[in-house]
């Protein structure tokens, strides 16, 4: 059992020993250890919201995560829930098979934009169309971070990457896929939303959307999807401190934040 980190030390009586604040302020479902992520990375912020949501909704002993391949893969050694490590792009199918055998469990995938929207686009679309009762979570930074900053299918026009040096040009590189918008149009999708962790309000919004997606899954409503825009200053070749603003203005203006679909109904005005 966790102790209350804000426990008040009694001051109305003489101390009986050395006085120090006991208890842990550690986040739930997180193991302590080193990680390999860069300064300014947005993925730990998103991951913390996922784990906190699972804990708060009391799914800690029912959650199974299926993990794609990307920078976030390195964080799985610190996630204290049952996991299946999948291939690049294949997590939605793996989650499908696991959910069919264990419908009482909360099944979610954790994927990046290269994983989900490039390599595994077919898998996530079919999983959504089938109305599979799983939650797919996309950490979208518009770049292959792990390989060092290459163009993905969500890279926005004008964005510089190592494979679009002068900025993504529609005539040369094609257009970005707005995956949340695309998935929300499928009848099997019950819930779809896009959040961004560029500021505190955005982080809180990500948490709300995750809560709703997980609740939707456990009510058996069908496929649920949460896209979370995350900073990648390393892969964007910008100063670390500029990450949040770049995310909000460059990626956020194309991949617009808000709820796209709730209770199986497309929202005309994006939910917040």
């Amino acid at each position: 059992m966790k102790e209350d980190p804000l426990r008040v030390v009694p001051t109305d009586s003489a101390p009986v020993g050395a006085c120090r604040l006991k208890g842990s302020a550690l986040p739930a479902l997180t193991l302590m250890g080193e990680h390999d992520l860069c300064p300014g990375c947005g993925e730990p912020l998103a991951l913390r919201q996922i784990l906190d949501s699972i804990e708060a909704l009391n799914f800690s002993q029912r959650a199974i995560g299926v993990i794609g391949i990307g920078c976030y893969t390195a964080l799985t050694s610190l996630m204290d829930i049952d996991l299946i490590q999948a291939l690049h792009g294949r997590a939605p199918s793996v989650a499908t098979g696991a959910k069919r055998m264990r419908p009482e469990n909360l099944l979610f995938t954790l994927q990046g934009d290269g994983d989900m929207v490039n390599e595994g686009l077919q898998e996530v679309i079919h999983t959504a169309a089938r109305g599979e009762n799983v939650t797919c979570i996309l950490l979208n930074n518009g770049v292959f971070g792990e390989t060092g900053g290459h163009m993905t299918s969500t890279t926005v026009l004008g964005q510089r990457t190592k494979t679009s040096i002068e900025g993504r040009d529609a005539a040369v590189h094609g257009h970005p896929i707005l995956i949340g918008d695309l998935l929300s149009r499928l009848d099997g999708t019950a819930y779809a939303a896009r959040a961004s962790v560029h500021d505190a309000a955005g982080v809180a919004r990500a948490r709300r959307f995750l809560d709703r997606a997980f609740e939707s899954q456990m009510k058996g409503e069908g496929f649920s999807f949460v896209e979370i825009l995350t900073m990648c200053p390393t892969g964007w070749f910008i100063p670390t401190a500029d990450g949040p603003e770049y995310l909000d203005t460059e990626l956020g203006s194309i991949h617009e934040v808000g709820e796209l679909k709730r209770d199986g109904v497309l929202l005309e005005t994006r939910g917040r």
Binding site: S77, L83, G97, E123
Partner: protein
Amino acid sequence: MTRRLMEGSEAIAEAAIAAGCRFFAGYPMTPFTEVLEHFAKRLAETENSACINAESEIEAIGQAWGAAATGARSATGSTGQGLSLMQESMSEITRAEIPIVIFNMARGQGDYFQATRGGGHGDYRHIVLAPANVAEAVELTQLAFHLADRWRHPVVIYGDYFLAHTAEAVDIERIEFDALPDKDWAVDGSLGGSGKSRNLNPIGMTKGSKGIDPNGFWQALSEKEDRIAAAERRYEVVDVEDAELIIVAFGSLARFARAAIRDLRSEGLKVGLFRPISLWPFPSEALADAARGKTRIACLEQNAGQMVEDVRLAILGAAPVVSIGGISTDAAGFGIGALFDSELIADRVRAAYEGRAVPRGVVA
């Protein structure tokens, strides 16, 4: 269950379900399609089970992977073409040590290398079982699920058009094998927050530690495969004791070889059959023993010459090895070749027996 006439596809699905298979995913492709059809029909009637008509072979094996990760007996399948698409996952599943059964209703025997060499990236092999008839397919299908669980390793059943579509009278009952360890490795979510949660990981990452130990990871897999290779070699011999020539053949083609041997024996030719049942691990020592002192070893396979490499490696020059098979399929390319003819095989064996040249090239 009483004895009933059924085609191989149906018998395989029935045997798998008798063995406790609860999940199947597949994508239609001749001659595998009917395996999927029977699973779809029968798993829909079975409690806590599911069959998915997957949108691709890549998704089929992904879905079977997820089901298997929960500890459920799970299978997928296709033809060799579809298995080509599945190899990436087959490699990863092997390294994550997840038991799974994969049916290859191949278009002939040209997938021997794909099946036995670890067809995807990395350093691994799968157990491969090749039934020669429907009754044996029923037995080996159940054995496949048992071996998969025993070793936490994928098992491939290598069949073909003949096996899938020949109807034979079979009796399908659950075979009781030795007791298996509990599947405490399977994910059920229960260890969340305990500090001991599971990670079914094909890349060697473990909870609470940074990075991986690739050398130790590959070495552990290699050592397990050595133990499998020592324990799971399977084969059948027919009339090899006094034989001067031994035919080596597997799967459906071995049935035709058997018929040829009956005819040749009646002519006074001392001919026997060595039939590998496990293609990996290949029964090398047993073949070497059988080959000792023989005049000739005739490798009969329906391809340009693949198993003959394993035959030569097993025998190490103790007897001359000659290939008497060849590329042989039908107009549609489904693997129903003219080589499936006991008289044609007998002719080729006679030539080999007498030291004459055996025709090479396509058998059409």
